[in-house]
């Protein structure tokens, strides 16, 4: 194994956080009372209305990648506190709390795995870790993932979930991660590399305005919130009622900004088929 690459097996030990605890739960989409186990077995999608609950990175990996094939890279990257940021609590403290809560070191996980036997470089952001926002670590991990995909001529798949965009707590360094990852993707594209971007609920701000929008092919899960500015900010600025379905996957499809909306159960298969089409056999 290459030196410096963290290549331990994927344990998938993270607790799924997005589906509320308890035997029964209520669907955010249709308000139906659901048997929790049934939702989990259904990839965290509501069996009644197809509402897609947010899933943790571990669950996402399990859903997409062939069993036991995921190898995580750079898992030991940890955020610093370059600004000495302190809003209502110091940033390092906030980080520690998030790490304990999620079992992750940071909002992004990168590595390689096989999707239906096809080797891919995979990047994922967990919308549960400081809203999936991008600071130095997320930017660095995704950049390394893109560079490695270029080097090994592998397809790159990034599944984004980020309500936070560029992380405020790391200030200008977060903003610059947008340029850093985009530059690496520029090289990947120039080298003829494939990049498929998968947008999940929510993908906003600096994440939407960088890597998430730079796929050769852009897929989205149904009814995900995707956009540049948050709906609240827009509502305050324009002072009119926002149209129904504004900034959803369906809205983006209608306006021509994504290629397909893919149901979670079809995502793995769709990725495999798409990669197969553009990879020389």
């Amino acid at each position: 194994m290459a030196q410096g690459r963290q290549s331990h097996a994927w344990h998938g030990h993270f607790e799924p956080k997005r589906v509320p605890e308890g035997v029964w739960m209520r669907c955010d989409g249709c308000q139906a009372t659901l048997f929790r186990k049934q939702v989990e077995e259904n990839l965290n999608v509501c069996p009644e209305c197809d509402h897609h609950f947010q899933v943790s990175v571990a669950d996402r990996v399990a859903q997409l990648v062939d069993t036991d094939t995921f190898e995580e890279w750079h898992a030991d990257l940890r955020p610093g506190d370059p600004l000495g940021f302190n809003d209502r609590r110091p940033y390092p403290e906030r980080i520690r709390a998030e790490q304990e809560r999620t079992g992750l070191n940071e909002a992004a996980v990168v590595g390689q795995g096989f999707i239906k036997g096809i080797r891919v470089v995979l990047g994922l952001t967990d919308s549960g870790f400081i809203m999936g926002s991008m600071g130095s670590v997320v930017g660095e991990k995704l950049t390394r993932a893109a560079e490695e995909a270029t080097r090994q001529r592998l397809p790159l798949v990034i599944v984004s979930g980020s309500g936070g965009g560029a992380r405020m707590h790391e200030g200008i360094l977060s903003l610059m991660q947008m340029a850093k990852v985009s530059s690496a993707l520029g090289r990947h594209h120039a080298a003829g590399g494939l990049f498929i971007s998968v947008l999940t609920h929510p993908t906003m701000g600096g994440v939407a305005a960088s890597f998430a929008s730079l796929g050769d092919i852009i897929l989205a899960e149904p009814k995900a919130l995707i956009g540049f500015a948050g709906p609240k900010v827009i509502a305050q600025t324009v002072r009119v009622q926002l149209p129904t379905g504004f900034q959803t996957s369906e809205f983006l499809l209608e306006h021509g900004f994504i290629d397909r909306i893919v149901h979670r159960r079809d995502l793995r298969g769709t990725l495999a088929r798409l990669i197969d089409f553009v990879t020389p056999s």
Binding site: A179, G206, A209
Partner: protein
Amino acid sequence: MSTAGDNRRLSFDAPIHEMEARLGEMQAEYARSRAGGDASAVAEQIRRLRRELAGLKQTIYANLEAWQQVQVARHVERPQSREYIDLVFDEFIELHGDRAVGDDGAIVTGLARLDEHKIMFVGHQKGRNLSERTACNFGMPHPEGYRKAILKMQTAEKFGLPIVTFIDTPGAYPGIAAEERGQALVIAENLLKMSMLKTPIISVVIGEGGSGGALGIGVADRLAMLEHAYYSVITPEGCATILWKSSEHWKKAAEALRMTSRDLLGFGIIDEVVPEPLGGAHRDHREAASTLKSFLLRALRELVEIPRDVVLQQRYEKYRRIGVFFEGVDAAAAEVLEAVVGSASATETTAATLAPADQQRPTRPPIAAVDVDPTPHGVDSRAGALETAPTRD
């Protein structure tokens, strides 16, 4: 008021205005005294007052707090792209439109001449009076603005013209139409395309560097800020609303975000701070323009000498190494290191001075050890270098 407006008269400028008023009175008195005979005493007083005024401006403007810098950066009389176009460039032919949706007034583009250099200019424009501001949408571009910008930049690349961009925006416009026309996508594409443009790019934050809306025309080989400009991941008001739950706390947010030119120089994000006239660029447009012009000329002369593929490689490396994080240390060690490094700085120096004491130092993708060539080494050699190189200078 609760937020940083664009007040014509800044509260912390009051002593300056007072002294200027006194100076005015004295000059009137001087005129009267001269008519009546000897005015040398008054003239001496005036000279003294002028020296005091310069000293006062120096004192106030050398010690501005972050929120005060924001107010200076937003000052209505601060020169904008169009003033600088008139004062800096010898010739300007404006080019309009994105060839798809329209012509966005928030971004001005065109061919310009600067001494011996022919360049493509791209810059935000906020507007001076209400009608101009409305036409420019207060410097907040829609997607067509970013598309227009990149189109002109691609034209520049085709004909080998260097690109100069001036950043001055509160942010890309957060509106319904902007979202419908793909605000996030156009900014993302600009970042990628600018990183690949085979021509030198110089960017200067002349006023407000509002987040993605600024970066969308700001991926550059040389990045500078005017002394009192700010550049931030989010506006202080936006940050305060989210983290402090009220925009009332914008002054605190401005401080916390470390968004002044000095902060960014310290982080190694910008290459240079372009000094402003005493008391801010709004007090002397000509002098501000002249300093800016010297910077541009220097940067241009430097960059045009470098082969284009080297420019491109260096641009990649410039962004590649931005970031502060720990690698190869466990949580406890990271905590100790964090305590040592504290919030001191994110510069290379901090890491270097720390390194001899402890090999498990915080790493930024270091300049010296990075191998960004897309060769078979890349990640491996970098990681190796991090583990084996105890010091770096």
